[in-house]
C-alpha cells in the first residue's frame, strides 16, 4: 500500500512534486475479534504488534490507542539510547534493544534516524566515580561497551562542556558508551505502525479501552472500548503511565506509581553538541536534535500525577545544571516544555510478562527510560504473548519478582531519569 522507500522512490516523488505520497498505514476500524489486542499505541505496543505479525505468524492483531499513536511518552521523550546498565539481566535486555536499533531503519524500511553519537555520563563526586567504574567493569564482562574518560578527554569528546574545577559540581570524569545515541521518536512509532500495518495489523486510534471482560474461568475474553466490545484471546497491556488503571480493569494491582516527567527544547542553533551528555547528580540530560534545538530532560516531579504537566521548578533545576555545565548555552532561549506520565517501579526495572489472569500480559514500568528499549521490549513481549511464557531475556523481569524478592535494582544506573 505505502510502497517501499528507496533512493529511487524518493527521487520519483521529488520530481513529481511530492504529490503522490499515500497514507503510510491503514487507519483501521475495529473488527469483532482478534487473536491479540495490544492496549496502547506507543512505540512498545506497536513494536510488539509488528514482531507478533513478523516473527510469530500472528496476523489478527489490533493495537488500540486512546489518542493518536506515539502521542504518549514515545512522542514526549528526549530519545536517549544506551545499554550500559549494571546488572546482567538489564544489560541483556537493553543491549538486545541496542542491537535491534542498529539495524532498525533497514528492518522496517523507515528512517528512524538512529544516531549512535555516543552517550557520556558525567561523574561529579567520588561516589559517582566509583559507581561508574563499577558499571564500566560490569558492562565489559557483559560485552557492553563503556569506557572511562578523564575530564580532559570528556571535554575533547564534547567541546562545549566546562570542566572548570571551581564549579559547584566539577566534572571528575565520565563514562562513555560510544554505541549509544538518539533516534527520532515519532519515526519509531510511525515506522513500526507502517511495518505492522503492512503485515495485516489493525492500528485503531481514538479507541480507549474502558474494561477487560473475563469469562467464568477468569481468562480474558476481550476489551470494552469507547468504540464497542472487541473480543480477544490474548491482551497485551503496554500503556505506560496508565498501566495501573488498565490493569485494575482486570483486578490486577501493579507495583507502579505514575509521575510527571518534563522536557524542554531551545531555539534551533547551528550544530554545537556532538553527543549526548547526562548528569544524574545535577539532573541534566542534553543533546541536540537534527533541527538544531537543544533537547533537555529534567528529573521527575515528586508526586503521583496523571496531569501530563509538572512544576516549573523541576525544569528550572535542569536548566540551571545545564548552564553550569555549558556556560555558552546560558544565552539560548527555551521554546517549549512539556510533560509525560512515567510509570515507575520500586527497583527502576520494567515488568514484562504474564499475569495472574490467563490471557493477560503486561509490559510496563519503563518509567523514565524506556524509549531506548523500544525494539527489544516489543520483540521479547511479542515472543512472550505468542508462546504464553516469558522470553528468556524477559523472564527475570516478572511481576512475581516483587514477591520473591529477586529485584533488579537499577536505581543507580537509571538514577532519576533516562
Amino acid at each position: 500500500m505505502a510502497g517501499h522507500f528507496s533512493a529511487l522512490s524518493l527521487l520519483r516523488q521529488a520530481t513529481g512534486g511530492h504529490r503522490r505520497w499515500t497514507a503510510q498505514w491503514r487507519d483501521a476500524a475495529p473488527a469483532a475479534d482478534y487473536d491479540v489486542v495490544i492496549v496502547g499505541g506507543g512505540g512498545h505496543g506497536l513494536a510488539a504488534a509488528y514482531y507478533l505479525a513478523k516473527e510469530h505468524g500472528v496476523h489478527r492483531v489490533a493495537v488500540l490507542e486512546k489518542g493518536w499513536i506515539g502521542g504518549g511518552n514515545t512522542g514526549r521523550n528526549t530519545t536517549i539510547i544506551r545499554s550500559n546498565y549494571l546488572w546482567d539481566e538489564s544489560a541483556a535486555l537493553y543491549d538486545h534493544a541496542l542491537k535491534l536499533w542498529e539495524g532498525l531503519s533497514r528492518e522496517i524500511n523507515y528512517n528512524v534516524m538512529f544516531s549512535p553519537r555516543g552517550v557520556m555520563m558525567l561523574a561529579h563526586t567520588q561516589h559517582d566515580v566509583q559507581v561508574f567504574q563499577r558499571h564500566i567493569h560490569a558492562n565489559r564482562q557483559n560485552g557492553v561497551d563503556n569506557e572511562w574518560l578523564t575530564p580532559r578527554e570528556a571535554q575533547r569528546f564534547c567541546p562545549p562542556l566546562s570542566i572548570a574545577s571551581d564549579s559547584r559540581y566539577p566534572v571528575l570524569g565520565a563514562a562513555l558508551q560510544r554505541r549509544g545515541g538518539t533516534a527520532r521518536h515519532d519515526a519509531v512509532a510511525w515506522g513500526y505502525a507502517r511495518a505492522a500495518s503492512e503485515r495485516g495489523v489493525d492500528i485503531i486510534q481514538n479507541c480507549a479501552v474502558t474494561g477487560i471482560r473475563r469469562g467464568p474461568d477468569g481468562a480474558v475474553q476481550g476489551v470494552e472500548t469507547t468504540r464497542g466490545f472487541i473480543a480477544a484471546r490474548k491482551i497485551g497491556v503496554s500503556a505506560a503511565g496508565a498501566t495501573s488503571t488498565v490493569m485494575q480493569m482486570a483486578a490486577v494491582r501493579m507495583p507502579l506509581e505514575s509521575y510527571p516527567l518534563q522536557a524542554l527544547v531551545s531555539e534551533p542553533v547551528k550544530p554545537v553538541m556532538p553527543c549526548v551528555v547526562m548528569s544524574n547528580t545535577v539532573h541534566a540530560y542534553i543533546s541536540q536534535s537534527d533541527k538544531g534545538e537543544l533537547v533537555i530532560g529534567s528529573g521527575t516531579d515528586q508526586y503521583v500525577s496523571y496531569s501530563q504537566r509538572g512544576g516549573l521548578q523541576a525544569v528550572a533545576h535542569a536548566v540551571e545544571a545545564v548552564c553550569e555545565l555549558f556556560p555558552t548555552f546560558s544565552r539560548l532561549r527555551m521554546m517549549r516544555s512539556w510533560a509525560g506520565t512515567v510509570d515507575v517501579t520500586p527497583d527502576r526495572s520494567p515488568i514484562i510478562g504474564t499475569t495472574p489472569v490467563p490471557g493477560l500480559f503486561v509490559n510496563a514500568g519503563w518509567g523514565t527510560g524506556g524509549f531506548k528499549a523500544t525494539p527489544g521490549s516489543g520483540h521479547v513481549f511479542a515472543w512472550t504473548i505468542a508462546r504464553g511464557t516469558p522470553h528468556p531475556i524477559a523472564a527475570p523481569f516478572s511481576l512475581d519478582r516483587f514477591r520473591t524478592g529477586r529485584l533488579i535494582d537499577e536505581a543507580a544506573a537509571a538514577a532519576v531519569a533516562h
Binding site: 495501573s244 515528586q302 508526586y303 512544576g311 516483587f402
Partner: protein, 99 residues
C-alpha cells in the same frame, strides 16, 4: 508548581515541601507472621489512583511536620489537607468535574 496548604502554617509553595508517598499504609503489626504476598503488598504495591489520592507531605522547609492530603491526580488540585493520625476525610470522587 503546587500551592500546598500546610495544616500548621497555611498555604505555601511546593518547593518548601517534600512528598512522602501514599498515606495510611500501616506497618505490619506482627512482621514475622506476614506471608510473602503480604510483604510485597506492604512494600511495593500502591494504589496509584487516577483521581483522589491520599498522600503524605512534609513541610521540610517550614514547620518540618508531616501531614496528609487528598489530591486529585488528574487536575493536581488539593481537596483537603489534614493532620497525620486522623482518618482520611470522606470526600467523594467527582468524575464529571475533575476529568
Amino acid at each position: 508548581m503546587l500551592l500546598i496548604d500546610c495544616p500548621h502554617c497555611g498555604p505555601r509553595a511546593e518547593p518548601e515541601f517534600q512528598y512522602g508517598g501514599e498515606a495510611h499504609i500501616a506497618r505490619p503489626g506482627d512482621p514475622s507472621a506476614l506471608s510473602d504476598e503480604a510483604w510485597a503488598t506492604h512494600l511495593f504495591f500502591r494504589s496509584n489512583s487516577r483521581g483522589l489520592h491520599a498522600e503524605r507531605w512534609r513541610h521540610s522547609h517550614g514547620c518540618g511536620r508531616y501531614f496528609n492530603a487528598v489530591r486529585d491526580t488528574v487536575t493536581d488540585r488539593f481537596a483537603c489537607t489534614y493532620p497525620t493520625g486522623t482518618p482520611r476525610p470522606d470526600i467523594a470522587d467527582k468524575p464529571g468535574e475533575t476529568r
